[in-house]
Amino acid sequence: MKVKIKQWNGVASWLWVANDENCGICRMSFNGCCPDCKVPGDDCPLVWGQCSHCFHMHCILKWLNSQQVQQQCPMCRQEWKFKE
């Protein structure tokens, strides 16, 4: 007997490679989106800081904009720098 597979349709779910489940700012799942967004993934990306913490991009931008003096990571209070 010989089986010839012509087409395989698989089902997968995507997920962020992050060290946490939820965004530390909005407490929503990384695999979902921030409260302001409707669509997850490309439209609501994650960003990592040099301190290795990551957040929804929209969340951390909002946080940084609200910081008057020094821009710190909300988790570890180190100075926030985007990881390149």
């Binding site: 007997m1 010989k2 089986v3 010839k4 597979i5 698989g10 089902v11 997920l15 490309d42």
Partner: protein, 810 residues
């Protein structure tokens, strides 16, 4: 005055007795003799009597005489005449005897009537100082005496005869109007030689005679003012019977045309007959000998008014009978609804004229309960009937009260069916076969948003407000919430639209995962339509799901392109495309572990790599048991091409490619699938004649000699009848999970408060649920069942209605 007359009696003036005789003789003598009596001597005698104060006794004497004669002679004679020749008479003769009896009665009474007239006239004229109630009053008294004595104990014979006679004249009348024949002999064609009116051979036909008799009888009766008394009952029962009969013949089971107009016409014909029966009320006036056409109070009820009254009665009968019949049939009418609209309209017309709403409600409720709401009826059928009922009853009763009350049992019952939501959602999206109503309803031009329904009805004019019918259920929702929108009514069965949207999401997920053609035009349309009803925010998840499908297609093309640029030998051996889901937005998918064949897992790994390159910092988690595989199976003597199976089936057959004999146990280990499930999955290949089961739970490939018929090529072989059909967890499983979530809360509460009643737990949980992320409709009964299970598992103790945790867990 009395003293005076007493004195007079003592000295009897001359000529007084003879004057009395003259006058009284004139009063009771037959008319014909009247002429012989000279008017002169009469008035002389009268004035003599009056001057002697005897005038006032004339009236009393006349009445007394009438009464005595009636009791002793006339009434017995009348009854005897009626019964006279005991039996064995033709109908025709019976009619004649009836008439004869009345004729004799009239003859006997005629002198008295004449006397009354005379006395009345004297009184009216005040001749000789005579005073009294006058013509009208006298007549009234006399006729009440006649009625009282004659009909004090009417024998059944009279009613019988009258009924028979009237029925006959009715059919004669109708046949002459060319109506009855069509109704009764319409089928077989008129029998030759039989008169349709009197149903005797034509040469003996007495139709004309009957009509003449009817006229005479009516005259006599109205002359005696007995018409209403004697004939009403007969006429009423005839009308009732005939309307009923005609309705049975014409309307029963016929819902597709309106009968109101036909019946209106027919009733006009019947009215013709009625006018024959009652017309002589007016005609009779002419026969009053004295020609008092002054239209004297009692007798002069104009025929028109009488007929008008009967017409009203008749319409009332008609409406009542019609409503009764339709109430019986209402279930069938509803079932046939769009076709039975004329029946509904007729019923509406008639129902407004009779007071039978309550009867209708009760009967309809019972009909629903006995014919619809039992386990033998498929949920989709119940829903179909419910939809028809909504449509039909909103025609019938725009206030929607009947709908609300009568359909309460249906809604209650549907709540107990597990697949209700799924069925409704399926028919909403046009999946359910033969039930496109909801799909049409959904795409209707002006959807009622479920959001705005709760708000105040600002648009409506206060002038147009109408009070609720009295049978409306008094609840806080009020009439403005009584919606007639089918979809909102269906959705509100469960009281919340969330359940529906969840269910829709599940259905959508199933469909997307089964189709794999990335063609979502129809789903997008459905979601857009649902958005109009449920609001944008609720359908958001579904939109993301559809976007996932579109994105997946793009990613697939992207990755394909990349692969095609590779060198020939590096090309992947397996064409893999993927459906990539945003896990947060899809319903919870069933988790099944399964070891994929290396071919597939390698392809998936490669795919994941490319995906990771495409989308930075993201990776894929494969659901190995989901998806579909298209494959060819080449056996020694045959080839099965283009089979589409689920991944597990593909994995199974791939294992048999390497080794043609497997035991269930080994295969189960190799695939990482429980044996039970594996056995079920293997049946597909057995049905295809590729594998066969041997003794000892071994399976082997059937390389040759399958005598079975080849299955059709290219069929979808995803077994749809088994429980694993749905890729998503079922509603009850999800509920169970949610309840499990509450278990932690319950434990915490019981630890703190030690003991709690069911109600307390429920209300506490409701508080949590309201604030928590999962909004479920939580039922006390459901919670109780859940707690009972916990009690059975010894995780909880219940005593005297109070729950507590067992000591050991503390």
């Amino acid at each position: 005055m009395m003293m005076e007359s007493a004195e007079i009696f003592v000295s009897v003036p001359q000529g007084l007795p003879s004057a009395w005789d003259t006058v009284t003789a004139a009063l009771v003598s037959p008319m014909s003799n009247d002429v012989t009596m000279s008017d002169e001597s009469l008035s002389e005698g009268l004035s003599l009597l009056c001057s002697n104060g005897l005038g006032q006794f004339l009236e009393g004497w006349l009445m007394e005489t009438l009464q005595v004669r009636l009791t002793t002679a006339m009434a017995p004679e009348f009854w005897a005449g009626l019964k006279q020749p005991e039996n064995e008479l033709e109908e025709k003769d019976r009619a004649r005897i009836l008439l004869m009896a009345f004729r004799t009665l009239l003859d006997r009474l005629e002198p008295f009537l004449g006397g009354l007239e005379k006395l009345g006239t004297w009184q009216d004229e005040g001749r000789g100082g005579l005073c009294g109630p006058g013509t009208g009053g006298l007549r009234e008294r006399a006729f009440s005496i006649i009625r009282a004595i004659l009909l004090f104990s009417p024998s059944a014979v009279l009613q019988e005869r009258i009924l028979e006679f009237y029925s006959r004249t009715f059919s004669v009348h109708m046949s002459q109007e060319g109506e009855a024949g069509e109704a009764e002999e319409g089928g077989g064609g008129p029998e030759v030689g039989i008169c349709q009116g009197c149903t005797v051979p034509t040469h003996q036909c007495w139709c004309q005679e009957a009509l003449e008799q009817l006229q005479e009888l009516s005259h006599i009766l109205s002359r005696l003012q007995l018409l209403e008394r004697v004939s009403s009952e007969a006429v009423t029962s005839i009308l009732h019977k005939l309307i009923e009969q005609r309705m049975e013949q014409h309307c029963r089971g016929e819902y597709e045309s309106s009968f109101l107009f036909d019946f209106q016409e027919w009733l006009e014909l019947v009215l013709g007959w009625l006018s024959r029966v009652f017309a002589s009320e007016v005609g009779g006036m002419g026969m009053v000998p004295n020609g008092t056409s002054s239209g004297g109070g009692v007798m002069g009820q104009p025929a028109n008014a009488v007929l008008q009254r009967w017409r009203c009665h008749m319409h009332q009968f008609f409406c009542r009978i019609y409503v009764n019949m339709r109430i019986e049939e209402l279930f069938s009418i509803i079932r046939d609804f769009p076709e039975s609209k004329p029946a509904i309209e007729d019923l509406k017309f008639c129902l407004e004229r009779t007071n039978q709403r309550q009867q209708l409600l009760t009967s309809l409720k019972t009909a629903f309960e006995t014919r619809l709401l039992h386990p033998g009826v498929h949920t989709s059928d119940i829903i179909t009937v419910y939809i028809s009922a909504i449509k039909a009853l909103r025609e019938l009763d725009p206030s929607m009260v009947i709908l609300q009350v009568a359909c309460q049992p249906i809604r209650k019952y549907l709540r107990t069916r597990e697949d209700t939501v799924r069925q409704i959602v399926a028919s909403l999206t046009g999946d359910a076969e033969g039930c496109s109503d909801l799909a049409n309803e959904l795409s209707r031009a002006d959807p009622v948003t479920l959001e705005t329904q709760d708000s105040e009805d600002e648009g409506s004019d206060p002038e147009e407000w109408t009070p609720d019918p009295t049978d409306a259920v008094t609840d806080k929702t009020g009439s403005k919430r009584r919606s007639s929108d089918i979809i909102s009514l269906l959705v509100s069965i469960y009281g919340s639209k969330e359940i529906f949207i969840d269910e829709y999401r599940t259905v959508l997920a199933d469909r997307l995962l089964h189709q794999f053609n990335y063609n979502t035009a129809r789903e997008i349309r459905n979601v857009e339509l649902l958005k109009l009803r449920f609001g944008e925010s609720h359908m958001h998840y579904c939109e993301v799901m559809l976007k996932d499908v579109a994105d997946s297609r793009r990613i697939n093309t992207n990755i394909r392109e990349e692969e095609s640029r590779l060198a020939k030998e590096e090309q992947p051996p397996l064409a893999l495309s993927a459906m990539i889901l945003s896990s947060e937005f899809w319903p919870t998918l069933k988790e099944e572990k399964m070891e994929l064949p290396p071919l597939a897992s390698q392809a998936m790994e490669a795919y994941t790599h490319r995906y990771e390159k495409l989308k930075a910092m993201r990776t894929l988690s494969w659901k190995s048991h989901l998806g579909s595989v298209t494959l060819d199976v080449e056996l020694e003597d045959r080839t099965l091409t283009n089979l589409t199976v689920s991944p597990i089936h593909a994995a199974i057959i791939l294992h048999f490619q390497d080794k043609s004999l497997w035991t269930l146990e080994d295969l189960s280990v190799a695939l990482g699938v429980p044996q039970e499930m594996l056995r079920r999955k293997l049946t597909l290949w057995q049905q295809q004649g590729v594998l066969k089961e041997e003794a000892g739970g071994r399976y082997s490939v059937l390389e040759t000699g399958s005598s079975r018929e080849r299955p059709e090529r290219g069929v979808m072989l995803i077994d749809s009848d088994e429980e694993g059909d749905s890729n998503t967890t079922t509603q009850s499983e999800q509920r169970e999970e949610k309840l499990q979530l509450f278990w932690a809360y319950i434990q915490a509460m019981l630890t703190n408060l030690e003991t709690m009643t069911l109600e307390r737990i429920h209300s506490m949980l409701r508080m949590f649920v309201a604030t928590g992320p999962v909004v479920t409709e939580m039922d006390v009964n459901e919670l109780q069942a859940f707690l009972q299970r916990k009690v059975r598992d010894h995780q909880l103790i219940v005593s005297a209605g109070v729950y507590r945790l067992p000591k050991s867990t503390n």
